[in-house]
């Protein structure tokens, strides 16, 4: 009974959770004509002095707070000493060398790539299929099915992980890659679903109807009209799912074993055993790769538009 209640509860929270994803949604919102940046040069006499100085100062302070761990972890990564001290007395690359040669990290990276590729692609196919069915067809239990599939947004990851772990233990199923992949599909599917839903809203149904009226079979309409038009949104959803899967930790901790441990789990195990800055070096690689990807995405795709945070007025 409790499970039922909680699912209903999550359905209730769905609008809010959905909005949460909308914010991050990487859907192909057809480029909204951008509101012209207000044409009149505005004399800013309405802003008092304290606001003109205090505002930027506050923003700077908050950005410092957000950036602080990144800066500190970077300093620590280049510290030659094995003990974390500030400021570092001598500098070296040796922790980076160790991070790249440490066997558990190499295996973890390998496992993470396998899980990420399978989980994100499966979630994309499953999510797209369901989104098309939900938007274009009627079937019994539609709302219930959606509610269940979106519920991992609010169900703690440790609960999902624990459930799957007990399940396989009970039936004596081996904990292999398929379990980890299934777990990640469950967790990233809501993000793909939201992405595809938003793209579907912007898709002109008449294009599909005209193809059908010209004699195309439903399958042909799907693969020659619907999917190609959804492509940008699908890519966005896939990318988001891939990144979420690659950095997922809590549920993975429950469902992985020594031979399937993903990179975040390997990193967690490292911190428990060693105190040297190897993990700092790996974190730096992680942080700068991610930031580079985002700067790239911002420059060529316009993150503001993708994330739906451009000023509309």
């Amino acid at each position: 009974m409790k499970v039922q209640t909680s699912v209903a509860g999550s359905a209730d929270a769905r609008t809010a959770a959905a909005r949460a994803i909308d914010a991050r949604d990487t859907a192909a919102r057809t480029a909204v004509p951008r509101g012209t940046t207000s044409p009149k040069a505005r004399p800013r006499h309405s802003q008092p002095m304290w606001l003109r100085i205090g505002g930027p100062l506050l923003i700077t302070l908050l950005l410092v707070f957000v950036l602080l761990p990144v800066v500190v972890v970077t300093l620590a990564a280049f510290n030659d000493k094995a003990l974390l001290t500030f400021p570092p007395e001598s500098w070296s690359w040796r922790w980076f060398k160790r991070a790249f040669t440490y066997a558990d990290f190499k295996d973890g990276f390998h496992a993470s790539m396998i899980v990420m590729l399978w989980a994100s692609c499966l979630a994309l196919v499953i999510g797209t299929g369901l989104a098309v069915a939900v938007k274009r067809m009627t079937f019994p239990g539609k709302n219930l099915l959606q509610a269940i599939l979106l519920s991992p947004l609010v169900i703690p990851h440790f609960t999902v992980g624990l459930g799957l772990l007990i399940l396989v233990a009970q039936f004596n199923i081996e904990r292999g890659y398929s379990l980890v992949i299934l777990c990640h599909v469950i967790l990233v599917l809501p993000f793909v679903l939201r992405s595809v839903y938003v793209s579907m809203e912007n898709l002109d149904e008449r294009l599909e109807q005209s193809a059908a009226s010209l004699g195309a079979s439903p399958v042909r309409v799907l693969f020659t009209i619907t999917v190609p038009l959804l492509a940008p949104g699908l890519f966005g959803g896939w990318l988001f799912a891939a990144i979420m899967s690659f950095s997922e930790f809590t549920a993975s901790l429950f469902v992985t074993t020594q031979s399937t441990q993903t990179l975040p789990v390997a990193m967690y195990n490292y911190v428990r055993e060693f105190a040297d800055p190897t993990l700092a070096a790996l974190s730096v690689v992680y942080i700068f790769t991610t930031a580079a990807l985002l700067i790239f995405a911002n420059r060529f795709l316009g993150l503001g538009r993708i994330l739906n945070i451009e000023d509309k007025h």
């Binding site: 761990p69 269940i148 609960t159 233990a169 299934l182 809590t250 967690y268 993150l303």
Partner: protein
Amino acid sequence: MDARSKLKGWLISPASFIALCICVALATVLQYSVRAFIPGSLDVGGLTLANFTGLTKPIYLEAFVNTLRLSVETTIFSILVAYPLAYALVRVRNRFFKSFILIVSITPLFLGEIVRTYSWIIVLGNNGFINTVLRKLGIIDQPLALMFTHLGVLVALVHVTIPVVVLMLATAISHIDRDYEKAAESLGAGPVRTFLTVTLPLSMPGILASVTTSFAWTFSAFATPQMIGGGRVPTVSTLVYQLGFASMNFPLAASLSIVGLALTAVALMLLGQVTRRMKAFGGH
């Protein structure tokens, strides 16, 4: 028509399978929560409510209180920090600063819990950044206790939650029609009054969405309370892990999860009620 219903079947069945897996996994947790624990064995005994009565021990109550407190505090602080950032992100005109604020505030979203939490360990530790700086400046002699404390966990959790809240608030702020603000100003309202009576109420949808998300995320956070709390700030998530992997007491871990899930559901339903009220009231 037949081709269409066949296609429908192909489109829906994989998703139904995943939904079934979710239900079965949750049902398994529920089932284990009412089974007796047999020490030293992974098998479980007969039906019992002992797991739930076992949860009234002080350690578990402390975990519930900690988790709820952390969720509420994190929600409040992350919105306070994220609002100015989101506002600047939407309203700053300089393209470079706009991109800079965007990249800085959302990169952490994609790093995962481990990298972010580990970085905070280096900031908060006894020989960490903050303590070293304060000691070098002569402000303190003894290192401040930041690791393994409620405060340390809270700071890291707020940091973890900021990116998603910034995005949600920025979405809401970007949809506000500026003419309302201009109207208020032209009628003589100062910047503070304009903000409090126009901008803030109009960004309410984003704030409520942020509250829900950051509450649910913090409730399920594990790496941060585990690594920074180091066992001294027990939360529902860390105890579930501990019971499962250290004591192998899966029935108790399951019942703890179920109560946690019920608490989340109740909290989110209450928030849903508030959201509906606000909508009925504000019509936005």
